[in-house]
Symmetry: C2
Subunit: 410 residues, 2 copies
Amino acid sequence: MALTVMKFGGTSVANVERLQKAADRIIKEKETGNQVIVVVSAMGKTTDSLVSMAREISSRPSKREMDVLLSTGEQVTIALLSMVLMERGYSAVSFTGWQAGIKTDAVHESARISSIDTSFIRPKLKEGRIVIVAGFQGVTEDGQITTLGRGGSDASAVALAGAFGARRCEIYTDVTGVFTTDPRYVAKARKLKEISYDEMLELAYLGAGVLHPRSVEYAKNSGIELVVRSSFSEEEGTVIKEEVAMEKARTVRGLAFEKNVTKVTLLGLPNHVNTVSRVFDALAAKHINVDVIVQNVLDEERTSLSFTIDRDVWDETLDVLRTHEKSLAFSQLVSESELAKISIVGSGMASNPGVAARMFHALSEKDIKVKMISTSEIKVSTIIDEKRLTEALETLHDVFRLAEEESVSL
Amino acid sequence: MALTVMKFGGTSVANVERLQKAADRIIKEKETGNQVIVVVSAMGKTTDSLVSMAREISSRPSKREMDVLLSTGEQVTIALLSMVLMERGYSAVSFTGWQAGIKTDAVHESARISSIDTSFIRPKLKEGRIVIVAGFQGVTEDGQITTLGRGGSDASAVALAGAFGARRCEIYTDVTGVFTTDPRYVAKARKLKEISYDEMLELAYLGAGVLHPRSVEYAKNSGIELVVRSSFSEEEGTVIKEEVAMEKARTVRGLAFEKNVTKVTLLGLPNHVNTVSRVFDALAAKHINVDVIVQNVLDEERTSLSFTIDRDVWDETLDVLRTHEKSLAFSQLVSESELAKISIVGSGMASNPGVAARMFHALSEKDIKVKMISTSEIKVSTIIDEKRLTEALETLHDVFRLAEEESVSL
């Protein structure tokens, strides 16, 4: 019998009225004759208010105890959603992470699922019951409660889909799908019918924010089709799956971007084999994430190194670099803030070498200066002035004809 | 090494400030060198608000799911209290019911603890850590979350004290101890230094409300000394333990009472061997609790039966009796409301036959009419007009010299 996994995020279960709406969806799916596993997040702002209680107590609360605390959020949702379904005449049964046999490693606050023992849920599905599972949480081999960190409920849903052999995992959220870019910036932004795992991964990493990259990766490896759709409208969502034929024709599928970018340049570094690694080791030791990196060798003795960071970690970054000033032996430190990263993403790009050139050409025609460039198989990222971001997004959205239906070939 | 179990109720952990106060107590106990297990309830009104969410969904929510829902309350408390203790430099570790190995039967919403597997907590105590356990909850053999019903956290505390061989279990609450009667009714009411398990049981059953009878019973069977004291003052509490010498001297130790009592009388019942059981079977089938029962055989054919119920179930009681009017075959139904039950309690009573007589005499001197009487080994209960309750309490408190120190012998 076919099995569907449906995941509802925090805004989709924020109150009893929304639980009723979610129940509508679940019942509709159940009535098709499929087995149904539902994965839910904590209701609305529950997690935030638990976190702020903990912060009131300690600036660095125990991670183990944070997991004990936060995991109550989804436990409340599973109980209430089960009650809603039962009240409407459907047999439902709830499972916490540990009850569902979701085993994780012992990294509190950002655990990874290591296995799922399906023997607890399986009999309930066979009895025809709707199974409601707490997302975001699991348990270690020795019985410690863990949470999965950001995007954890998506990860739970995809892992359950994999473990139970579901072909489809539906992610109900507060947006109607995956867009060519953020509609708040580009009015013409269009919802995509389909997108490949790899494209979605780039969009996710680059801040599209709909799905956590880890879940997309897992779905890709397990061949599970993901559907992102709104729990508030009947609109069809976006299907994320292996590349489809028509995608080949369209080189650029979407625009991702990030604001708050700061560029740091170290000048006059000694041109040693370990110069770059020493800089990034020092930053990594303080958990500072570096994004785009560009190195320029000036001559045999000296090199310069530029990288981007989030503006929020600029003070910390400066501390690290000043602390290691002697050992890193750079002659000058230059920084530039109020930058943005804009990226074009598309599987077809690899086989289409002119795409990057068209991007740079379009930006230069608008007199938008490109300050750094980074490329991968399926994306090209550039760093530009943040105040030119919207203009750049609109320009590129037009140039790559992203507003047009996908059947049109470039 | 000596072990102390300390239990903090909902008002004692209602917010972060109170958690800090509870931590003061716990740290003080830990600093004596004892091992410490702390049992906590849900914070303040948490349980009430969870219940009202469930009621918004269903008038009769699934008991299994209610347990999943409500058990989150204590889980929040254990995590936050552990954080408070850690922030103050003490090593603490939290346990949910299932993590603590608290096994129960499968009666959701009012489960009973069947066993405690001490192997999870024991090593943490040995490491010198303060162990914080969620009260009120457990888990069945097959992994279902259960709650213990009213007074459940007390039951958890006493059961843990028993399982870990603690000699003493301290119950921190919002009163300073057990009183001779309710100080809101009798200004001279005095806090008892000590009271026996049996006396406490009668006081608990009769509505003194400080401790659930089940916990007192368990403590009695396991020989665990209970201490009831306030978490808001340094005042010494009341010790509940096996009878002590001085108690023998004092026949009456306390006055219990209940309001909202309704008396129901069935007249002209056939005097058959199963008449009484048929009446109470019919009521029990609707979960109506009957308290005091008096039967009067009028002649060989006819009998009358009186019993008391809580006024809140009067409508339901009437329904049941009307429904079975034919089969029960009573000739008349008479009821009287606005009654109260007042009871004198004391272990010494059994060996002191004049005590009941003194009670009736004192009441009749005040012209307070006794409508029903019920007696046990260590208590005498009477039903009187509710509007005479305070007067009756004050009279009996004086007659039995309850305001005087316990070294005085009657």
